[in-house]
């Protein structure tokens, strides 16, 4: 398969997944904002619930450049939902996913293209006012359902060839990245210092964190008990049966890369294997002792390296011969 095509497939699913995660995160923030909240450290960006989506996505600076002045829920929503100048807004994600799909129409099924195209055509005609009039939560539900639908259409219609594996790879890389970021920022917010671990926690805040990764029901089923930080870490990092846990994401990523690897592309598989083993044999107590923030930063660093290896070996390879040719041209 063409590297450019594989790269587009990979980014179709990353963008759809990112749109879904953004919708989840904003939805939970929106619901939480209707409850009274504790100001933990006033003056800190994360002390304000509406800043959290920005901090988690690494977009706080971009936001303040675009919307100087006091932070407002409306402005954050505008920025994160429909702003075409924010490359991670839901609008931009769906646009990029659809543009990528358009360039590789031959590599996906017509059902997949029709599905994404219909979503884009609908989103394209929306204004912030029309979304607000319909209900912002309904809109987030719509985006989540569309993402589920696209994943379903992909799994249900696509030939299990290389292209399929790159689409799946994008989904899980994005998901792992998102779960790690949400956990890091939310945990930080809830427990500004590690010494507070085991102290009183706000049930709603923890509930919101779990809901934003669709793990609230899973938590209740698994533990049938109050929410504790240790269990949240176990659930979202280590368990191999929670669909958005880091462990499950790395399971999938490792399997996909093992299937894709040949003699010249062993490094991505090795890196994924290493990350996978770390989660497979990890213990929640150890993570807390090590420091969750440090643990997650380390994970995100390694995920980033893995992404670079995937680029070099599959998606945007640089060949010595092609470089020589390019130099000949520029001379």
């Amino acid at each position: 398969m063409l590297s450019r095509v594989a790269n587009s497939l990979y980014w179709i699913s990353r963008h759809v997944e990112r749109a879904e995660n953004t919708a989840r995160m904003l939805d939970v923030t929106y619901r939480m904002s209707m409850l009274p909240y504790r100001v933990l450290e006033s003056g800190q960006a994360w002390s304000e619930p509406w800043a959290l989506p920005l901090v988690i996505s690494g977009l706080a600076t971009a936001y303040y450049e675009r919307y100087p002045g006091a932070l407002s829920p409306n402005k954050v929503l505008r920025f994160m939902v429909l702003d075409p100048l924010n490359p991670s807004s839901i609008y931009s994600c769906i646009h990029s996913a659809r543009e990528n799909a358009r360039t590789v129409r031959g590599a996906i099924t017509s059902e997949m293209y029709e599905d994404l195209n219909a979503l884009w055509l609908n989103l394209h005609t929306q204004s912030f006012e029309s979304i607000a009039a319909e209900g912002i939560s309904e809109f987030f539900d719509y985006i989540k359902m569309q993402s589920h639908q696209f994943r379903g259409v992909t799994i249900g219609t696509m030939l299990r060839d290389e292209g399929y594996h790159f689409i799946r790879l994008g989904t899980f890389i994005e998901r792992a990245d998102n779960t790690a970021r949400i956990l890091d920022v939310k945990y930080h917010t809830l427990l500004p210092s590690v010494s507070d671990v085991g102290g009183a926690v706000d049930y709603y805040q923890w509930g919101a964190l779990l809901r934003s990764v669709s793990a609230f029901d899973a938590y209740r089923k698994v533990y049938r008990d109050v929410i504790t930080p240790m269990r949240v870490i176990e659930l979202l990092v280590l368990r191999d049966d929670v669909p958005r846990s880091l462990h499950v994401c790395m399971n999938e990523i490792y399997q996909i890369l093992s299937g894709l690897a040949d003699a010249s592309s062993l490094e991505p598989e090795r890196l994924a294997g290493e990350l996978h083993a770390q989660l497979h044999y990890g213990r929640a107590e150890k993570i807390i002792t090590f420091g969750l923030h440090e643990y997650l930063m380390n994970f995100l660093d390694k995920l980033h390296s893995l992404n670079q290896e995937i680029n070099q070996h599959f998606l945007v390879p640089v060949y010595a011969q092609a470089q020589a040719q390019a130099q000949a041209v520029s001379r």
Partner: protein, 478 residues
Amino acid sequence: MDRDSSAAKPAFYNEMYQADGSVRGHYAAYAEWLEDKRVEYLLQKQREADALYTRLGITFAVYGEETGVERAIPFDIIPRILDAAAWSKIHDGACQRVRALNAFLRDIYHDQDIVRAGIVPPEYVTGNSLYRPEMRGFTVPGGVYVHVAGVDIVQTGGDEFFVLEDNLRTPSGVSYMLENRNMMMRLFPELFSRMSVAPIDHYADLLLENLRAVAPAGRTDPVVVVLTPGPYNSAYFEHAFLAQQMGVELVEGQDLFVADQQVHMRTTRGPKRVDVIYRRIDDDFLDPLAFRPDSVLGVAGLFSVYRAGNVTLANAIGTGVADDKSTYIYVPEMIRFYLGEEPILQNVQTWQLRKPEELGYVLSHLPELVVKEVQGSGGYGMLVGPTASREQIASFRRRIEAEPAKYIAQPTIALSACPTFCGSSIAARHVDLRPYVLSGKATTLVPGALTRVALREGSLVVNSSQGGGTKDTWVLEQ
């Protein structure tokens, strides 16, 4: 349903109705089906078709408007029907023409017999800016230059067909021919059981077969790719569609590179050699080392690999010289010269104003004629006598008198018309026909073509950029 009373106006040939209003034989079964259909029913089908085209993303980009604007090309739900006899003439005539044009290209890039025989003047060959001196003496695989040709044909009577133009560079539109058929089968399956419409869906197989047949010698299981300028090209949908239908890679210039005198593509499994490139990029942009140095769409070094015979381009480089208006005039002569046959399809009568006796005739008949620039295209630098004002004619006359050799003239042609659904009624609209002729293994075409229709009443302009639409074209089997 009722039809527009203007449908039988005799100024042009109506493909469905005779002058007395009775239905022509090959439309009888369709007319019978149509008889009890209400406007609401047709309107609903038309809306269904429009919605499907938009949802399927069968669009073309509109240049000059807001970036990224895509439109669905208007599609008319009433088929254009050709009987077997008409088709056989079109088939034989178009194939004959393309065989002669291939022979002409082979000749002008080698010995130029046709120039030495005094049939085509050298200034129209080597003096043409579309002639590629780089191609002199180079023999393309199988001697095939034009692998895909779009021959634009108009009908003026039951058995009267004229060729308006040959498109020998990168003709587009075949995806609409194929998608229009899919759409009709989706909308009106019952019609296909009533009438025996010749199938066309093997087009992609035939194309692939022909492309594989012209691979460089010794390549077993040759790798074919479609080369596109990218998603912002107006015909991108078609490029992707054809690659998908053939089951080959759709590549952009950035996906290919040259190493060791071979063309390779960048794949997830490392470099892979490419043998045949069905390119939808103009000559000028193919290789920045050989042609336009500012091209970012092409592949550096491609031309040198091509000249070394290590990759095949379809169509070949330098075919533009044969679809120029000045060369068009000589196609009937080419058919006689190379094939020893009489042309099956006629050219539209064309006066060459560089000839004094023809110039005299044209100048005294300007209000009836269409005058075109030899090198012009897209309707620029053109006089349409019957619709032009007295002043326009006078000013054009002065331009002709200054440089007569720059112009040709043709009579205004009464294009045939087909019944077309216009929202509240069915009315006659003018149409043309573009069959796609494939060459490689043999010269052949599927029994079908793209019918373009001028949707505005009385209009003769069928271009999609100017209010034109398309129809499915049905060739009836005997």
